[in-house]
Amino acid sequence: MENNIASAAANETLKRGRGRPSGSNSFEHVQIKHLLTFLSEEASIPVSKLWMRDTLGVIIAARPIQVIQNDNAPSEQTEEKVQFALNTFEE
């Protein structure tokens, strides 16, 4: 019996600090007018799917993950040039 209690207590201790505590989240409430002082109306901002579902009633279907190739990313050698000087000794 005592062992069970100790084990339960140990589990309880271990469970603390795992993941997100119930009721907490990483979001903050901000008024749209304040956001617009930083962003244009065309800006794209991430919102949670839960918020969309609960507030707007919109359900987004899961999509397959797309791998996007960034063509603008500098490749290893595109910009690098070896510095050299050629002396031909021609009079």
């Binding site: 070896v82 050629l86 002396n87 000794f89």
Partner: protein, 310 residues
């Protein structure tokens, strides 16, 4: 071959020997020029390469590469070897060779392994490169020999450049200022501030030329030298402000640790060792005996700086 270059008699003899041998063998050994900055490594090598005659009778061109800008084999083979070196007769000069990337050093270990014939094939990716050392001379230079990969060093013939003597420096300065008359002893005084460095001597000659032009004068006496020193802050023995600062710390605090000097100057220990202590030790202005200490010569030099207000 080196008529227009002053000093480095040993280097001249060695390079002349290799140049003469080239006329018979068509091959130059893989040389490594070792020495501090400003001792004339590049200038001597240019003259040497010029003395090597190609099949068309023209002097062999020299491609001077900044090794630190070669990041890998790909950059070397694609930007240098394929477009410029391949099928040409040329001297390849790798300046600051201690900064070569590791994979190119490894490639060179294989390429420079030419004990039997002066030809070597090197495979890289889908290519096979031909290194014909009767057409390609490969020469390296470094200011930091200890940083060069030892197996690469073993494959190279090392030529050590030495600091210039006072009379050689005087000759370099006088050679640049043929129209200027120097008072006896002034050239030796000027030479003592160039730290045995040919490049500094050329720079000093330029400063004197500018001074004489502004004064509309073709004479340079002790008075003029004193004035120029005051204007440019040229200290005895060509000491830098950091070196003077270290001497001052040692004078004020007595024997000190490297840590103390670092703390007072705000410089790193390595920077102090490399940029200040090395020359002070060479000139006997300080000594290290457990702690750092200023010597008598150091005290005299410091007093001269204080008295003359340099």
């Amino acid at each position: 071959m080196f008529d227009n270059l002053i000093g480095q008699p040993e280097i001249k003899r060695q390079l002349e020997f290799y140049s003469t041998a080239y006329q018979k063998t068509s091959v130059v050994p893989f040389l490594l020029l070792n020495g501090a900055k400003g001792l004339g490594k590049t200038e001597f090598l240019k003259q040497f390469s010029k003395s090597l005659t190609n099949e068309d009778g023209k002097p062999r061109p020299m491609l001077e590469l900044n090794s630190s800008t070669i990041k890998n084999n790909q950059m070397f083979f694609e930007q240098i070897f394929m477009p410029i070196v391949q099928n040409n007769e040329i001297t390849l000069f790798f300046d600051e060779a201690h900064a070569l990337p590791k994979d190119l050093v490894m490639a060179f270990l294989s390429i420079l392994n030419t004990e039997r014939t002066p030809f070597k094939e090197f495979n890289w990716r889908e290519y096979t490169f031909q290194f014909d050392f009767t057409k390609i001379s490969m020469i390296f230079a470094t200011t930091e020999l200890d940083k060069l990969f030892p197996p690469l060093k073993d494959r190279l013939t090392i030529l050590d450049f030495k600091p210039y003597k006072t009379d050689e420096i005087s000759e370099i300065i006088k050679g640049r200022l043929r129209d200027v008359d120097f008072e006896d002893g002034v050239l030796a005084e000027i030479a003592s501030t160039t730290r045995g460095n040919a490049r500094s001597a050329v720079k000093r000659a330029k400063e004197i030329e500018t001074f004489c032009e502004t004064q509309n004068s073709t004479t340079f006496f002790k008075e003029e030298w004193k004035e120029l020193r005051q204007i440019l802050g040229i200290k005895p023995l060509g000491l830098t402000n950091t070196e003077v600062q270290v001497l001052e710390i040692l004078k004020e605090r007595g024997p000190s640790t490297l840590q103390t000097i670092a703390a007072v100057t705000g410089m790193s220990r390595t920077a102090i060792q490399r940029d200040a202590e090395l020359y002070l030790l060479q000139r006997g202005l300080m000594k290290i005996d457990g702690t750092r200490e200023i010597t008598k010569a150091g005290m005299l030099t410091l007093n001269e700086i204080t008295e003359k207000g340099f």
